[in-house]
Symmetry: C2
Subunit: 209 residues, 2 copies
């Protein structure tokens, strides 16, 4: 039995969606960021990084979304959510996910997590980072729009773990100051994703938790 | 035939090492950052991201180190550099690599690439980011030292793609202001890696190119 530690409105949603898509038997545990639960001694035993998501499996705890997405896809091969047996196609999936985690998500994180990279009381730098977010996140989404999103799904005709991950990060783009009209294909992808039963169920579960 | 676009002293070295480890038939092309070749029209046709590394394969171009490392390992299965058939063990490999690309490398990048996240002429913020690097990169290495590096190799007895990646990022730690004495196991790993023939050959090729 799998258990996903999550907080609403975080990248944990990507793994949550994929758990729903594959029909996994899983439970969830909400970590309350407002109470600082991600830094509680109990949670740090689960994930010493003090972040979400974390996925408890029968073999141990996994962290880092790109790894967790492939793990779920590979553990439920019938759902066919990642072309693991085709090295090049799989590398394209991995490359997309790596770009999301190390580029798009990082650009976004400079809006609310600037203290990771400058002193927390340096308001000049914190605010300078925040001002750059519309540009840096916007450029990443425009690159996805133009070069990466093949359509109708990220990898073309085949729905994959990339779709759940892109949808998750696309939740935040308006608050990041990105102009939706500049990325119509990303917005259309987000709309179609929101109509999937697995996506609606994962979101509803997170908001009700 | 594979071709690796690289620049010396970048994370391209990780893929270069793995190409050597598996005995691949490959060539390399050096991109001269001093001349801004990563932004040349010719190179942007190869990699629109304008960065290294990029790996040209018979099926197309791949970018993003975690994806490239798995691609090479999976394409040369006899070298046994990633436990792709074991979902949990593979997820651990992927989680480690994802941490390096989205956390350690990103922390490091705030020393010389601060303009990605604030305006390039905002010297207060650029320098504030630089001052935080010893702490942020140091904390990541200390976490690796304490929790992730199983020993003798990253994943334990088995040498994997993770070792090439960790070694590559560990090239920069002194310049990042990290105190080597605080991470003796990482330093010992780096020393043992440097003694491997594949590693020495990849480094020699990059410096001679």
């Amino acid at each position: 039995m799998l258990n996903l530690y999550f907080a609403p409105h975080t990248c944990a949603l990507a793994t949550h969606i994929v758990l729903e898509e594959v029909g996994a038997d899983y439970s969830t545990t909400r970590i309350d960021f407002d109470k600082g639960e991600q830094r509680s001694p109990e949670y740090l035993k689960v994930n010493p990084k003090g972040r979400v998501p974390a996925l408890v499996t029968g073999q141990g705890v996994l962290t880092e979304t790109p790894a967790m997405l492939v793990f779920v896809a590979q553990s439920f091969p019938k759902a066919n959510l990642a072309p693991i047996d085709d090295p090049f196609a799989f590398a394209q999936v991995q490359s997309f996910n790596s770009y999301l985690c190390s580029h798009l998500h990082i650009a976004h994180a400079h809006r609310m997590r600037g203290h990771r990279w400058v002193e927390a009381d340096d308001m000049h730098s914190i605010e300078a980072m925040q001002r750059k977010v519309p540009q840096s996140v916007g450029a990443a989404f425009e690159y996805i729009e133009k070069d990466l999103l093949k359509g109708p799904w990220v990898m073309g005709e085949r729905y994959t773990i990339c779709d759940a991950y892109l949808f998750t990060l696309a939740q935040w783009l308006e608050k990041d100051g990105v102009v939706p009209a500049r990325i119509p294909r990303v917005i259309d992808h987000r709309r179609r994703m929101s109509q999937r039963a697995a996506v609606a169920k994962a979101i509803a579960q997170e908001l009700a938790a």
